[in-house]
């Protein structure tokens, strides 16, 4: 039984950051932005949280700073796409580069070295009342509610319909008085907050450390979860948890098999699962033709 609990704790710990960032991807996707900047915004969130704790000594202050910076980065992405007319995918990849490089630079500038930064404490824990899950952060407990909230917002409100209309058929949105550009601004800014939480959970949910490039492709994995889950909040959240399950299973297998399987192969399992997942979701939606559309939302 403890074995099972340990397994669940490991999945939740590695999966929760993915789920938050995936939700950011879902809301952007529905508003019509293929958000490839998730990785960048997430690492800004992670870095800002750790630096915030170190510099202010307060977690609420640190998470507020992280949210602020992530929203600012997301608004920057919006500005580049909507106002400067950049290709959203290129702009998103650019933001990812900016996030990874910028956070390394910030650490270097503040601490004078590129070594990892450790914070004295992290996200508040659930505590002893939760038994074997007590060491998890409050963000893990919040996660299902956030997913449910996203589902209500996107699938059961007029707001969600308008957001989807803005993404799928901008003229339809304009015809009912919704500005597609504003809808995307709202979606990206909300996504900034979610990425901040995801980044904070990654850096300060278990260990409390920030290292260069510590997101290591998790933002892209989240994007894959968005596609795998057809931009549906619940489906995408499960896709994200599935990817982290594969990752945790890989580490377990490593313990089991020791050196007989090269450890790089096991470490690459979640990434392979991601590719497999996107391929399967493409097949499920009708082969190569539909796969290029990647979800029911059209890239207009």
């Amino acid at each position: 039984m403890t074995e099972f609990h340990e397994f669940m704790v490991a999945i939740l710990r590695s999966g929760t950051p993915l789920v938050y960032v995936t939700m950011a991807g879902v809301i952007a996707q529905r508003a019509g932005v293929w958000h490839l900047g998730l990785e960048g915004v997430m690492i800004i969130g992670a870095c800002a949280t750790i630096l915030g704790i170190v510099l202010t000594g307060s977690f609420p202050a640190a998470i507020a700073i992280a949210c602020l910076l992530c929203v600012a980065a997301s608004v920057l992405l919006w500005f580049v796409i909507e106002k400067l007319g950049a290709n959203p995918i290129i702009a998103g990849l650019g933001l990812t580069g900016l996030g990874i490089g910028g956070t390394a630079l910030a650490v270097q500038a503040i601490f004078g070295s590129l070594a990892a930064v450790t914070a004295p404490f992290g996200v508040p824990r659930l505590g002893a009342a939760f038994g074997p899950y007590g060491a998890l952060s409050i963000f893990v407990l919040m996660m299902p509610f956030v997913v449910w909230g996203m589902w209500v917002l996107l699938r059961r409100t007029r707001f969600g319909l308008r957001l989807a209309a803005a993404g799928e058929h901008p003229l339809a949105a304009r015809s009912v008085g919704t500005s597609p550009a504003n809808a995307r601004l709202i979606a990206l800014a909300a996504g900034g907050v979610l990425c901040a939480i995801g980044g904070a959970e990654l850096a300060a949910g278990g260990l409390t450390i920030f290292a260069q490039n510590m997101t290591a492709g998790r933002g892209f994995m989240s994007f894959a979860a968005v596609i795998f889950g057809a931009a549906h909040p619940v489906g995408a959240a499960f896709a994200a948890l599935f990817f982290s399950l594969v990752g945790v299973a890989g580490i377990r297998l490593q313990l089991l098999f020791g050196a007989s399987i090269p450890h790089d192969v096991l470490l690459s399992l979640p990434y392979m699962a991601t590719i497999l997942g996107v391929w399967i979701s493409g097949r499920m939606r009708g082969g190569a033709k539909a796969a290029t559309e990647a979800s029911e939302l059209r890239d207009y």
Partner: protein, 526 residues
């Protein structure tokens, strides 16, 4: 209306310019409440721009709008909707992945608007019932036939209790029976006190439904609103075209364009669909052609078709009945799973698209701007594709010579352009189509497939395209003309087949019976 009643919509001095093009030039017009008003004009007359200004989608450079005597903030959809103005677009504005219920809901009211599925469906069923629209609210927009999509969009527009409904070319996508049903719906809206403005371009339709007629030409109001009783088809046709423009256009073409002609003949001759292969020389023969399943359109189902030299064969049908698949199959771009295709007498079912071209096949594709031309490439590049296709892969290209020959060709075809090095995207629709004609119609052409060749063109360019096709046929080319405009088909084709869900269901020869063709298009039993 009494003199004291303010008009439902009053435009004063509306001017809209797009770059150097003036779409509306100081338009002054007022529409009375509680009537059906038609706004007619050629393409480019400013009809759609007028509709979009009234709905707040386009902000005019100058002028003012008043609804029921109250001034409206310009360029604000929310403001126009609050005043009761709704627009139904020509190519509908409903997200294809939405269900009918979602499509009705997304435009309703403000705020976050949380709903439950059950309540949403109930509300939707009530609204649909009120409009006498029979459709399952759980179906997705993309799965609905166009008439139903249009009905849903009208329902969407009425969700907010619109009092002024503008429909932009609502009949363009409908089969004849659908048009009558739409007009009935519009008359019923009028009875419920809704003012309706119909943007149309066929006089026959205007006369059938409108109370008043207004004519736009070149972004100005030429006449109107004229009560229908005081308008006659001929004079309205003349106002639409403008006397100066009538010159090069034959009277017959003018009639077809405005649709003013009475039904041409009533006798029909139904002939067997497939002719025997021995019946003389053919440039195109399809024998029981099937294609693979395709998410966009039904596959071709045992399609047999003959085109002889010098013959224009029309393909009629409501959009989406596999006309695109037919063109792709002949061009070598579709997955043909059965049957045979003969080009110029040679079996070509397995021949590549490039080699079919060598057999004399030329295609004027459906989408001028995405399939016909590369808008971001120079004119000479667009034009010389046809030669480069015939040359070995690593042959020498002489751009200067190609540019020279392109210049010659474009001048022969009367294309108005600045330089062969300008991008194709800078041309107007008519000129762009002429570039495609100049490229496709050459001495080696044996079969020309013309897919909606006159769509979106003004009267002069349309007449030009038609005469080019007739001329090619006169030189012995076969022409396959695919169109959803019956007037165009009746005017140009020697013979007409009707497509419905991937099959050829009927064949007609002149004189055409519009009612019978319409029945065949919708699958109604004859």
């Amino acid at each position: 209306m009494t003199a004291a009643d303010p008009p439902a919509l009053h435009c004063r001095g509306i001017r809209v310019t797009y770059g150097e093009v003036t779409a509306l030039a100081d338009l002054d017009i007022a529409f009375a409440r509680g009537a059906i008003h038609a706004v007619v004009g050629q393409n480019g007359a400013g009809k759609t721009t007028f509709a979009r200004v009234a709905a707040g989608l386009v902000r005019p450079d100058a002028g003012s709008l008043a609804i029921d005597g109250r001034a409206l903030r310009l360029g604000r959809v929310a403001g126009a909707r609050a005043a009761g103005v709704e627009l139904v677009h020509q190519s509908f504005a409903l997200p294809p992945s939405f269900t009918v219920a979602e499509a009705l809901e997304f435009g309703a009211g403000g705020g976050i608007g949380v709903y439950s599925r059950r309540r949403l469906l109930k509300r939707c069923r009530e609204r649909l019932a009120a409009l006498d629209l029979d459709v399952d609210p759980r179906r997705r927009i993309r799965d609905l036939p166009v008439e139903v999509q249009q009905g849903v969009e009208i329902a969407r527009a009425l969700v907010t209790d619109a009092r002024l409904l503008i429909l932009d070319e609502p009949t363009a996508v409908l089969p004849p029976a659908g048009i009558e049903a739409l007009f009935e719906r519009i008359r019923s809206l009028k009875r419920h006190g809704v003012t309706v403005i119909l943007i149309l371009h066929k006089i026959r339709e205007v006369m059938a439904v409108a109370d008043t007629i207004s004519v736009l030409r070149g972004g100005r109001l030429v006449a109107g609103p004229i009560p229908r009783e005081r308008a006659d088809e001929a004079s309205v046709a003349e106002m639409i075209v403008g006397q100066a423009a009538v010159g090069p256009v034959s009277a017959d073409d003018t009639q077809a364009l405005v649709g003013a002609a009475p039904v041409r003949g009533v006798a029909t001759h139904r002939v067997p669909v497939a002719a025997s292969p021995e019946a003389g020389e053919t440039v195109l023969q399809l024998a029981d052609v099937n294609t693979a399943k395709d998410p966009e359109e039904p596959p071709l189902d045992r399609v047999s078709l003959l085109v002889r030299p010098g013959e224009v064969v029309g393909v009629a049908g409501v959009q989406g009945n596999s006309q695109r698949t037919l063109v792709k199959a002949i061009a070598g771009l579709a997955d043909v799973t059965g049957g045979d295709i003969y080009l110029n007498g040679r079996r070509a079912s397995r021949t590549s698209a490039a080699n079919r071209r060598a057999l004399g096949l030329r295609v004027i594709p459906f989408e001028r701007n995405s399939e016909g031309l590369s808008l971001t490439s120079a004119l000479w590049e667009n034009w010389s594709v046809r030669e480069l296709l015939q040359q070995p892969l690593f042959s020498f290209v002489d751009p200067a010579a190609l540019r020279r020959r392109c210049d010659e060709a474009l001048e022969t075809w009367g294309v108005r352009y600045a330089s062969a090095t300008q991008n194709a995207g800078a041309l107007s629709g008519g000129n762009a189509q002429k570039v495609i004609l100049a490229r496709e119609i050459d001495d080696d052409a044996r079969l020309i497939i013309a897919a909606q060749p006159a769509r979106g063109l003004d009267i002069g360019a349309t007449a030009f395209v038609w005469s080019a096709l007739r001329e090619a046929a006169g030189r012995g080319c076969g022409v396959l003309l695919i169109s959803s405009d019956l007037d165009e088909l009746f005017d140009v084709s020697h013979r007409l087949v009707v497509m419905l869900s991937g099959r050829i269901v009927a064949e007609f020869v002149p004189p055409y019976d519009i009612a019978a063709v319409g029945r065949a298009m919708t699958g109604a039993s004859t």
